[in-house]
């Protein structure tokens, strides 16, 4: 029996990383009996092993809960768990677009952080009703009163609406659910209108094809219906519709306001794009829902198998992974130094990290990743404009009219003590200071316009280390800007290693070249011969370091049991070498290729 529209709620939980979003979601599932406590795997909503290990959500989840409220009604509350990292902000925006309200979780000892604000702004952009919760009130350093005041002053939510909770101990769960049914408005759609359903995620299932996560905003979605994806134009016949409780459960239909999934023999997540609108082919909606964006990768890197025999396996693994990850793009790349591999585009560094780790874990590959870079736009003298996502592919300087780089608007939230450090860091990173705002709780919000390239190079780590971990960062792409950039090449043992090239600002090129050579000297292990490392700009050597030859490697004693021990030791060393890439006759470890990321 379907729930009357006025008893449906769709909410999301938003929070800064580690503020307890997942634990709170788990408590809601438990309290509403959606999941029996004994079946409760810690953090039900994060399904990927990787997600559980890293404590972050990569894919959105959507669970239907039934809650009998104090007013006697049984409400259908749809909980949509959003990805918790800045790399996935578009996915977050679509998940929020599928909601009517949001539970805002703020840590009682950390207070409001950069991502909290970014999330709140996003939620307000989507006209969501916010239920503010101060979590972890049971922790020794908790100061819930101060955080409540902060929420009122910074976000403008009335202090009396703030709920104190400890998700870990289950304190406040009922109050939160009551606030949700009381404050969050019911959906406004009409079950008999032409179908309009928003896709907010998609997952590939080996047996059923793509499982598309939708919120029906208008009309009703039923099996056997012929549907059309309004952005891509592809159409499919619906096989099954259902809801998550928390496992997939088939239902007769999904009508306006409801959240669930559809299965329609879709073979590729690309045909089920996040943000697209599902409509009835026979009776289409007048227009697609607003806000669709074709997601473009921000960060690019080469992935190469350390063992060249694994190239084919890598290709197949990327194909498989892409079925489930529409934001991953790749194309074949060949490097003189690293052989055959793939140039991949990612949403951000975390996304890159996750993809690499999944490829290695789930497909048993050993990969070498080159340093991530952004995509530049190069205007040639002949008037043509070409995108360059690989420093080595930068055209000849003689042909270049100008190079533009992607710029972001970066928001840093930090206690006032560290403002000086933040200013200094951002200046080093070519940041243009835009604004600074003091907020209660001794917090300062600083905004910069800054090249994306500077952000991906270790910026977040530096931010944390120069603020004792207190600073937090959020950023969004705001366009391209011309800059004075040059290509820095690295020569190892006299030969250029294409995979070590980087694009840097001209005024910093010498210094970067020097630092990179120094760093490489410490990362490239001693070989049987001396290995010179040179940095060059346009054929001119600007820095030189030398890795001295291995001087001595011999054990004094080798008798009886020593033999086994020695063999095992040497075998282990050899195993370690397999993670290195042989370039010419020099063994270069993975860290060397990432060295450009941490030159400060």
């Amino acid at each position: 029996m379907s729930t009357p529209t006025h008893l449906i709620r769709a909410i999301s939980v938003i929070a800064h990383v580690d503020h307890g979003k997942t634990t709170l979601s788990d408590r809601l599932l438990e309290f509403t009996g959606t999941v029996a406590p004994r079946d409760m795997v810690e953090q039900v909503l994060d399904q990927l092993d990787l997600e559980r290990e890293r404590g972050i959500t990569i894919k959105a989840q959507a669970v239907r809960m039934l809650y009998q409220a104090d007013d006697g009604n049984t409400y259908q509350i749809n909980l949509i768990d959003t990805p918790g990292h800045v790399d996935f902000s578009y996915e977050v925006s679509r998940a929020l677009a599928a909601c009517d309200g949001a539970i805002l979780v703020v840590d009682a000892s950390q207070g409001i952080e950069a991502q909290t604000l970014a999330n709140v702004h996003q939620a307000l952009d989507h006209h969501l009703t916010i239920v503010p919760v101060v979590n972890k009130i049971d922790l020794p350093h908790a100061d819930p009163e101060l955080v409540r005041e902060e929420i009122q002053k910074v976000i403008g939510l009335p202090a009396e609406s703030v709920i104190f909770a400890s998700a870990r101990q289950g304190i406040g769960t009922k109050e939160i659910l009551e606030a949700v049914v009381r404050e969050v408005p019911p959906p406004t759609g009409d079950r008999s209108s032409p179908l309009q359903a928003l896709i907010f995620d998609a997952k590939f299932d080996a047996y059923r094809g793509v499982v598309t996560y939708v919120r029906v905003l208008e009309g009703t979605l039923r099996p056997k219906m012929r549907i059309q994806m309004m952005q891509t134009g592809r159409s499919f016949e619906v096989d099954e519709v259902g809801v998550f409780r928390p496992h997939r459960t088939e239902v007769e239909d999904l009508s306006a306001g409801e959240v669930g999934y559809l299965i329609a023999n879709i073979r590729n997540v690309r045909d089920s794009r996040v943000g697209d609108t599902v409509t009835d082919e026979a009776r289409p909606a007048a227009a697609p829902l607003p806000g669709y964006r074709h997601v473009t990768p921000m960060v690019f890197a080469g992935l190469f198998p350390t063992d060249t025999d694994q190239y084919q396996q890598l290709k197949e693994a990327l194909e498989r992974l892409q079925l489930n990850d529409a934001s991953l793009v790749y194309e074949p790349e060949s490097s003189a130094a690293l052989g055959f591999g793939y140039r991949c585009g990612f949403l951000g560094l975390l996304h890159m990290d996750i993809v690499q780790e999944r490829l290695e874990r789930e497909f048993n590959l050993t990969l070498l990743a080159t340093a991530p870079t952004v995509e530049y736009r190069v205007r040639l003298r002949n008037g043509e404009e070409v995108p360059v996502d690989n420093p080595d592919k930068l055209p000849d300087p003689a042909e270049i009219e100008s190079i533009s780089e992607p710029m972001v608007l970066a928001t840093v939230v930090v206690p006032s003590t560290y403002v000086g450090n933040m200013m200094e860091l951002s200046q080093e990173r070519r940041g243009q200071f835009l604004n600074m705002e003091y907020q209660p709780g001794d917090r300062v919000v600083i905004t910069y316009r800054m090249p994306l390239a500077e952000i991906i190079h270790d910026y977040n780590d530096q931010l944390k280390s120069r603020s004792k971990g207190y600073a937090s960062l959020d950023y969004e792409l705001v366009g391209f800007e011309e800059a004075n950039l040059v290509k820095l090449d690295i020569l190892v043992a006299g030969s250029p290693v294409d995979a070590l090239s980087m694009i840097v600002e001209r005024s910093k090129a010498h210094q970067q070249g020097r630092r990179l050579s120094e760093k490489l000297k410490t990362l490239i292990p001693r070989q049987l011969f001396e290995v010179p490392i040179q940095a060059a700009i346009g054929g001119k050597i600007v820095a030189r370091e030398t890795v001295p030859a291995l001087r001595k490697d011999v054990i004094a004693k080798c008798y009886g049991g020593d033999v086994t021990r020695k063999r095992k030791l040497l075998e282990k060393q050899k195993e370690g070498k397999k993670r290195m890439k042989r370039v010419g006759n020099v063994e270069i470890p993975q860290e060397a290729f990432m060295a450009v990321l941490s030159l400060d």
Partner: protein, 373 residues
């Protein structure tokens, strides 16, 4: 049929003091166990030798620990099953001894028990070095020990020495070497002081309390010893071993030539060649208590074993074979690696054998690793 065994190693895991650099399987506080350990060892030799084709033995090596802590009777008790296996005429029976234990009475007892070769842990003659190494004897004690052994009838004596000891410069090292060689011993083993992670020295180096000499200084001392011993008439036959003509250690050579051997005693390793051509390494339980208990119950105390395929065993054979400096044929199965190493100047080929170059000696691990998978 398993390949017949001609070499036997016996381990005596007791010391009066555990020197801070030593990571051998040895114990200083368990000397009260010696009598029951001797019984167990004797029993294990009997039981093991009944289970495999063995003897007559060409070499026996009693190592430790400090085997010279055994009384004459105890040594006799250990040697009895060895004689039951049988010794080849002219067999080499080496025993390690601490200079502090070398008295004319002991020497007579060792000879009477059948020991033919004495390996003395001299280590250094420099007072500072001996203190650093925590040796309980003086340099004079060590020289006296050589003389007592010689006077008592040992005509095959090795002196174990350590170089690269912090605080010992090249000329002090040469003084030690010269003085020991001047005693007319037949064999010298000179080992670089190696920092092992599980030792107190390892900890002192990690915490910065001790700074080890750099590779350059260690190699200087090594090559100076190589030159000096050559002049003194010694043949440099293994990376850390020198002998006068006819006095190479046959037991250790058998190991480097990858001959099978039986090891008895706590933590002792054995290497057996099985009938299907595979090589088996097995090892006994390490602790003396557990060893005595296991032998009491089962007659043996095997704790683990590892079977190497013929291919892997060939790699291992090549890895240790190259340590023998007159050359080895053990690398024959690896023509590609051999060519590379020759190209890199680490090996030279000579009438079907290969041997390490000077640079190859310095990087012998790199050479050895090339033959492993």
């Amino acid at each position: 049929m398993m390949e017949r065994i001609r070499s036997l190693y016996l381990h005596v895991p007791f010391c009066t003091w555990l020197c801070k650099y030593c990571d051998f399987n040895t114990y200083a506080v368990l000397q009260g166990l010696i009598p029951s350990y001797v019984e167990a060892l004797s029993r294990e030799i009997d039981v093991q030798s009944a289970m495999m084709p063995i003897g007559p033995l060409e070499t026996v090596f009693i190592g430790g620990g400090t085997p010279s802590l055994l009384s004459g009777d105890q040594l006799q008790r250990v040697m009895a099953p060895v004689f039951r296996i049988g010794l080849q005429p002219g067999a080499e029976v080496t025993m390690e001894a601490n200079p502090s234990n070398v008295t004319s009475e002991h020497v007579a007892a060792w000879l009477a028990a059948g020991v033919t070769r004495l390996s003395l842990g001299v280590q250094s003659l420099q007072p500072g070095a001996l203190r650093f190494l925590e040796r309980l004897h003086s340099g004079d004690d060590a020289i006296a020990a050589i003389r007592v052994a010689r006077a008592g009838g040992f005509d095959n004596i090795n002196g174990d020495l350590l170089y690269g000891v912090p605080g010992v410069d090249l000329s002090s090292w040469m003084e030690t070497l010269d003085a020991v060689v001047a005693e007319g011993i037949e064999h010298v083993s000179a080992y670089e002081l190696t920092v092992e992670s599980g030792t107190r020295l390892g900890q002192e180096v990690r915490t910065g309390l001790v700074t080890m000499p750099d590779a350059e200084a260690q190699l200087d001392q090594y090559w100076a010893a190589v030159d000096r011993l050559k002049v003194a008439g010694f043949c440099h036959y293994e990376i850390s071993n020198w002998a006068r003509e006819g006095y190479r250690c046959r037991h250790n050579l058998a190991g480097w030539h990858y001959q099978p051997y039986l090891g008895c005693g706590a933590g002792a390793h054995s290497m057996l060649r099985l009938e299907d051509g595979t090589t088996e390494r097995r090892w006994n339980v390490k602790g003396p208590h557990a060893y005595i208990k296991a032998v009491g119950e089962a007659g043996r105390a095997v704790d683990g074993r590892e079977t190497l395929s013929p291919e892997r065993a060939r790699g291992e054979a090549a890895m240790i074979g190259v340590r023998v400096l007159e050359g080895t044929t053990a690398t024959q199965a690896f023509p590609d690696q051999r060519r590379q190493l020759v190209g890199a100047g680490l090996l030279v080929e000579d009438a079907g054998r290969v041997h390490l170059t000077r640079r190859g000696v310095e990087l012998a691990n790199q050479v050895g690793a090339a033959f492993l998978r």
